[in-house]
């Protein structure tokens, strides 16, 4: 069929069954926007900043498991999107991001709103394209979705010059992708898996170390099964929260810099670390040469480059995680394991001796409390996104996550300003859940304009601002490691958040007591409107436990070390 390049974009999105697109128009992408106006395949959400369009697409992708889509214009539109691309890239989130470009005749002349978009996006995308010929467009669209969602997922960027979207060409959407150079490994090596299983059977203190790859591969069920059948304890990374479910008796908590004592001790004492979709990030391992130093390592990852990037793997296994854990389950019938109940009991003892906790107060709300409280009231009815800082760590620690994709956070890049737009994507993709964003008084101002998107598109995102009048996480480091020199982290002067959200047309609350918080939350949930609950919290609370930078996981500062 003959049609313009712009129409081809729309038709391709339809072929990919895209139901939601986030974006922001501009000169170079206007042909595409004109077609968006005419179509009724998908809904377009108008964000108020391109960075937010990408984060919203991420929130949508992270919570639903589908590919997120965003469309932006050339030049500043694209450069605004870069932080979003980098955020998605670091966390391996499948996205297709389309940008307009100046006409091919102008490329290279420093034309108005021209920028080398593919040059800029190269290091923060899984792959990218500049469309030179209209004939290539359908193929590139097809490849982009395929590359985004297969193998180790990631963002793919397509830059389309304006004259290409205006030209008319023949549209036939390819049925199959033909990429001889791109064949991600799905099936693991059987002999290697067998060796790994034998290693487990010889082990006395095995530990499942589960990372964000488990969420991406949708294998929560299989991992829970494997843990249950073998009685092997599990620790989750920040990005894997929700895999086991908070009340699973084999879950020993989150590990890492702000992980639980039991989880970090488990990594310290294990004799066989079974890494499933985790990548040994420095925020997780602490001092690398002491991480799991008594253990052999089974390392399962879909990305061969992740294996042995940081840690020697005695049993490397490349394959899709779901397929591999299914294989591990399958092989259980041939293998006998030790009884791990003493090991599990030891870790449980650690958990009881040093549980995650905070010292509550009668005079001021402690920041952990509203998080726990939302967990009590909404539990698995909510999907939780966060910004970056102390509130993010407290959410990871204290919210009772019970299913994968319930916790949406920027792990790899740690992007402040992520939470609100991501919650927009969550709300759009999960209308049956409550979309809650926990944010700090610093982070929320980085994409506050997205309140307008919530109001215009009728998305009942509830933002809970834990206001400590500080850039709290940085303040904590200054307190602990810079002799309390609070350089540029004091946020005593802040807007009136209640008035701010009301001026956008949302619901505003300012609470200083637990009763007020409960009432505000109830009201916001019932009214199903965009809302912001500002909670005035203890200013100087620290995130604990903490493994100071450069220390080993068993060298933790615990809560008792501070309050005594």
């Amino acid at each position: 069929m003959k049609m313009t390049g712009a129409k081809m974009v729309i038709e391709s999105l339809n072929e990919e069954r895209v139901d939601t697109v986030f974006g922001y128009p501009g000169g170079a992408i206007m042909n595409v926007y004109d077609e968006i106006y005419k179509q009724n395949h998908f809904e377009h959400i108008l964000n108020r900043h391109e960075q937010a369009s990408i984060h919203a697409a991420e929130g949508y992708a992270r919570s639903t498991g589908k590919v997120g889509v965003a469309i932006v214009t050339s030049g500043p539109g694209f450069t605004n999107a870069v932080t979003g691309l980098a955020t998605a890239y670091m966390d391996s989130i499948p996205l297709v991001v389309i940008s307009g470009q100046v006409p091919t005749t102008i490329i290279g002349t420093d034309g108005f709103q021209e920028i080398d978009a593919v040059g800029i996006s190269r290091p923060c995308t899984k792959h990218n394209y500049l469309v030179n010929k209209i004939e290539d467009l359908p193929r590139i669209m097809k490849e982009a979705f395929h590359i985004a969602r297969t193998g180790r997922p990631g963002p793919v960027h397509i830059d389309i010059p304006k004259d290409i979207t205006a030209q008319v060409g023949n549209f036939e959407y390819p049925k199959e992708v033909n990429l001889p150079t791109y064949k991600p490994t799905v099936n693991y090596n059987k002999r290697q898996l067998k060796k790994a299983m034998i290693a487990i059977s010889k082990s006395k203190k095995p530990l499942l170390y589960v990372g964000g790859g488990a969420i991406l591969a949708n294998c929560g069920h299989e991992i829970r099964e494997f843990a249950k059948k073998t009685n092997i304890p599990v620790v989750e990374t920040l990005m894997a929260r929700g895999i086991m479910g908070h009340d699973n008796p084999l879950l020993m908590g989150m590990l890492g810099m702000h992980g639980e004592f039991a989880a970090n001790m488990a990594a310290y004492e294990t004799d066989l670390l079974i890494s499933l979709g985790a990548r040994f990030d420095d925020r997780v391992t602490g001092r690398l040469d002491e991480f799991a130093s008594k253990a052999k390592v089974i390392h399962v990852d879909v990305d061969p480059a992740s294996i042995e990037k940081l840690v020697k793997a005695n049993y490397p296994i490349v394959g899709d995680l779901k397929v591999t854990v299914e294989g591990m389950l399958e092989s259980l019938k041939d293998i006998e394991f030790n009884d791990f109940s003493n090991w599990v009991a030891l870790l449980k003892e650690y958990r009881e001796k040093e549980p995650l906790r905070y010292i509550d107060s009668n005079t001021v709300i402690k920041p952990q409390w509203p998080i726990e409280r939302v967990g009590e009231i909404l539990g698995n009815k909510a999907i939780i996104s966060t910004d970056v800082g102390q509130h993010q760590m407290w959410t990871a620690q204290f919210y009772p996550f019970s299913f994968p994709r319930q916790f949406i956070t920027s792990g790899g890049l740690g992007t402040m300003g992520f939470g609100l737009p991501a919650a927009i994507g969550v709300a759009k993709g999960n209308p049956d859940k409550v979309s809650i964003n926990f944010s700090g008084d610093g982070s929320i101002l980085m994409n506050i304009q997205e309140l307008m998107t919530c109001v215009q598109s009728n998305l009942p995102v509830i933002n809970i601002i834990l206001n400590n009048n500080y850039l709290g996480m940085v303040r904590q480091w200054q307190t602990m490691f810079y002799e309390n020199r609070l350089s540029e982290t004091d946020l005593s002067i802040q807007p009136d958040f209640k008035m701010l959200v009301e001026s956008f047309g949302g619901l505003g609350y300012r609470v200083t007591t637990k009763e007020e918080f409960d009432a505000a939350l109830k009201d916001a949930v019932e009214k199903k409107r965009p809302a912001m609950i500002e909670v005035i919290v203890e200013r100087n609370e620290e995130v604990l436990p903490m493994v100071p930078n450069g220390h080993a996981l068993n060298e933790m500062t615990l809560i008792g070390d501070i309050d005594e």
């Binding site: 593919v118 040059g119 190269r122 290091p123 899984k126 792959h127 990218n128 500049l130 030179n132 590359i147 990429l179 001889p180 150079t181 791109y182 690398l288 040469d289 991480f291 799991a292 130093s293 008594k294 253990a295 052999k296 390592v297 990305d303 061969p304 480059a305 042995e308 990037k309 840690v311 020697k312």
Partner: protein, 166 residues
């Protein structure tokens, strides 16, 4: 047991890698970008289309410890347009150098030395002679040194290494 000694003791090695990559306008920048973004070395790089195909071959000479070389190979393999990455073990390596020497230098000496390195005089003008030599990279390095020390060359151009498995 320590999972990391494996990497910490390893010494720096020189590795010749060839990369077969689809001819597309971004391919070279993707590969060079990977090296610069991850802090890997490129000692030399040559690229040319493979006759009768839609692919090009790049020959990259790099240095690093075993962990770095492993990562380079894996990360290159990860790039979508890369078809194949070869970590060469047993290769014939060749490099070409062009050297321009002022005409007032002792020409017969130049020629004798050049011949020892499979070199030839390529061109002579009123001002200068140009010699070329093609040989193994370490011999080309020697040759270049000698010429540089003795004959005040006006210009030296090296091609970078090309390699082929024996």
């Amino acid at each position: 047991m320590n999972n990391f000694n494996h990497y910490y003791d390893s010494e720096t090695i020189r590795q010749v890698i060839s990369v077969i990559v689809i001819n597309e306008h971004n391919a070279l920048s993707r590969i060079v970008g990977l090296f610069s973004a991850r802090g890997y070395n490129i000692d030399s790089l040559t690229v040319a289309p493979i006759t009768g195909s839609e692919y090009s071959r790049m020959t990259i000479v790099t240095t690093g410890d075993k962990r770095v070389i492993d990562q380079i190979v894996k990360q290159l393999n990860k790039l979508i347009p890369v078809l194949k990455v070869n970590e060469h073990k047993n290769v014939i390596e060749k490099e070409t150098v062009l050297i321009k020497i002022p005409i007032n230098q002792p020409i017969s000496d130049v020629e004798v030395i050049a011949r020892a390195y499979n070199g030839h005089i390529q061109n002579v003008t009123d001002d200068a002679i140009v010699i070329s030599a093609t040989d193994e990279p370490h011999r080309i390095a020697n040759f270049t040194n000698i010429m540089n020390n003795r004959f005040n060359p006006l210009e030296i151009v090296k091609s970078g290494v090309v390699a082929m498995e024996r």
